[in-house]
């Protein structure tokens, strides 16, 4: 049996990928439970809302970047098989974005809606993060086969190019969130730039 056949990738590869993508969430779920029930958690340290929010935000960006690796990978190896995983990875990225936002609203700001609104309109890095979230809602909402059919492949593809501004916003959100000039968010921004550059080069080669 060819373990890389489309059938076995669907049958075994996908559940394995789901499990792998769920790991960053499973890692903290016990800590979150501890924090909510006892107000304290060993794993999340002295400031659990901050630690959890950063963990989820970091994984949202990582998985979103992973979703952008799939198409170039498919081109590089000359096989469409990686694309089998693209929607799944994109939806997991969205799931981490939703959790990141939920932890900010529920645990960090404890539903202080006025403060949250002030953050969104006044604090640029939060404004950018929210803008990325809005774009990703559109993409998640149109991720079904039905939506692809309804929109027609060409328009659907054009719509889903919104992932590029979304990931740029996310990378800038991360850079601006950190104080001073920090190397970690710049590494993420560099990877994003490389992945988008790969696409630009591809388009130029195809003479578009």
């Amino acid at each position: 049996m060819d373990i890389f056949s489309a059938t076995s990738l669907r049958r075994y590869g996908k559940p394995i990928a789901h499990a792998a993508l769920a790991l960053p969430l499973l890692m903290v779920i016990g800590d979150v439970y501890d924090y909510i029930t006892t107000g304290f958690s060993v794993g999340l340290g002295a400031n659990p809302p901050e630690a959890l929010n950063r963990h989820l935000g970091q994984w949202a960006l990582r998985v979103l970047i992973l979703s952008l690796v799939i198409t170039p990978l498919s081109t590089l190896i000359g096989s469409p098989k990686p694309v089998l995983f693209r929607r799944m990875v994109g939806l997991w990225a969205f799931a981490y974005v939703v959790l990141h936002l939920a932890s900010y609203i529920a645990l960090d700001k404890v539903f202080e809606w006025d403060e949250i609104w002030q953050d969104i309109v006044k604090r640029t890095f939060i404004t950018l993060g929210m803008a990325a979230f809005v774009l990703l809602i559109l993409l998640a909402a149109t991720s079904t086969n039905w939506a692809v059919r309804k929109l027609k492949a060409k328009r659907w593809k054009r719509l889903h190019r919104l992932v590029y501004p979304a990931v740029i916003l996310a990378a800038v959100h991360f850079i601006m969130m950190r104080k001073g000039l920090q190397i970690e968010p710049l590494i993420y921004a560099g990877i994003v730039a490389a992945l988008l550059g790969f696409r630009l080069v591809g388009r130029a080669r195809r003479g578009l």
Partner: protein
């Protein structure tokens, strides 16, 4: 008299895993894994890490009854493991993990600028270890979290008096050590090292301004700014500069490290003020470390009685 009878099954003291090694067990395992893969550098790093932080000696001090607020003191584990000290790394646990590299003894401080007694002073010449007092202060970080911390030290004024600033001295500027050999965070220019902070002379002479050399009854741990750090509880935490190696008396207002990094975000005064919002964080409310919800932030972090006079007539929106 307590006579301890040892059973054969009792562990001897030196066999017990140290608290430090226990708390860092995951990182130690990671270090061990990396070493096995053959990273020689990681191996030598691990061997040095084995030394762990220095033993913190106990201190003789009196409790200052004027500074014993009716508030719950933040757990020591949070105070010593949740730190911003970018010279040792930018994440909150990095200082706890990395600061053991700091050599705090001997320690000397260069004093220069407008003073009659410039020169290099030993730590012992600046801080009178026979006059130590404990003060419990609130600490409010600009990141909208806060703690309640029992510091041990001396008023900053007691040190400044020894240094005899001249009448031209209008500001005191402090500098943190910036040694890449001891401080791994310095390899990357997060800010323009060395870290600098400053106070106007009347702020520095205010009784609240404190130089801490101890914490929770012991010597201050490296990650909290050993061997001597400033504590200005009415200002955001970053003003309370750590591991001071230079004190300069200046006639002009210095441009401090965070002012250089973000002129629109950080002002020279940086007094805790819920009415003046910050581009990154609303300063109206805060999370007290250890509490689930958030509480209102107090102007001057609740120390208005002591310090509000210093800013009489000043527009605190302009002088933030």
């Amino acid at each position: 008299m307590l006579i301890k009878q040892r059973k054969a099954s009792d562990e001897s003291e030196n066999n017990v895993t140290s608290e430090w090694a226990y708390l860092n067990r995951r990182k130690l395992m990671l270090g061990a894994g990396a070493a096995l893969i053959g990273a020689g550098a990681a191996l030598s790093d691990l061997q040095r890490r084995d030394a762990g932080p220095r033993e913190l000696g106990s201190l003789d001090f009196s409790q200052n009854p004027a500074f014993r607020p009716d508030e719950v003191v933040t757990p020591e584990a949070a105070v010593t493991r949740y730190n911003n000290f970018y010279e040792f790394g930018v994440s909150k646990e990095d200082p706890f993990i990395n600061a053991w590299r700091l050599q705090t003894s001997p320690w000397s401080v260069t004093v220069d600028g407008f003073t009659d007694k410039p020169g290099t002073y030993a730590f012992e010449d600046l801080v009178d270890m026979n006059a130590l007092q404990e003060r419990i202060y609130r600490l409010r970080c600009v990141e909208a979290w806060s703690m309640v911390i029992p510091w041990i030290g001396v008023p900053l004024a007691s040190i400044i008096k020894k240094l005899a600033p001249t009448s031209d001295a209008k500001y005191v500027v402090f500098e943190t050590l910036a040694d890449p050999a001891q401080m791994p965070g310095i390899r990357w220019p997060v800010i323009d090292w060395p870290y600098q902070e400053g106070l106007r002379m009347d702020e520095a002479m205010n009784d609240l301004a404190f130089i801490a050399v101890g914490l929770f009854g012991k010597e201050i741990p490296n990650q909290n700014g050993a061997p001597m750090r400033l504590v200005t509880p009415w200002k955001y935490g970053f003003k309370s500069i750590k591991s001071i190696v230079r004190i300069t008396f200046s006639d002009t207002q210095p441009t401090t490290s965070w002012m250089k990094t973000g002129p629109s975000e950080y002002g020279f005064f940086s007094n805790v003020n819920p009415e003046v919002s910050h581009p990154r964080w609303s300063q109206a409310r805060e999370r007290r470390i250890g509490e689930f919800g958030r509480r209102d932030t107090l102007k001057f972090n609740g120390y208005g009685e002591e310090v509000a006079d210093l800013y009489a007539g000043m527009d605190l929106r302009k002088y933030f």
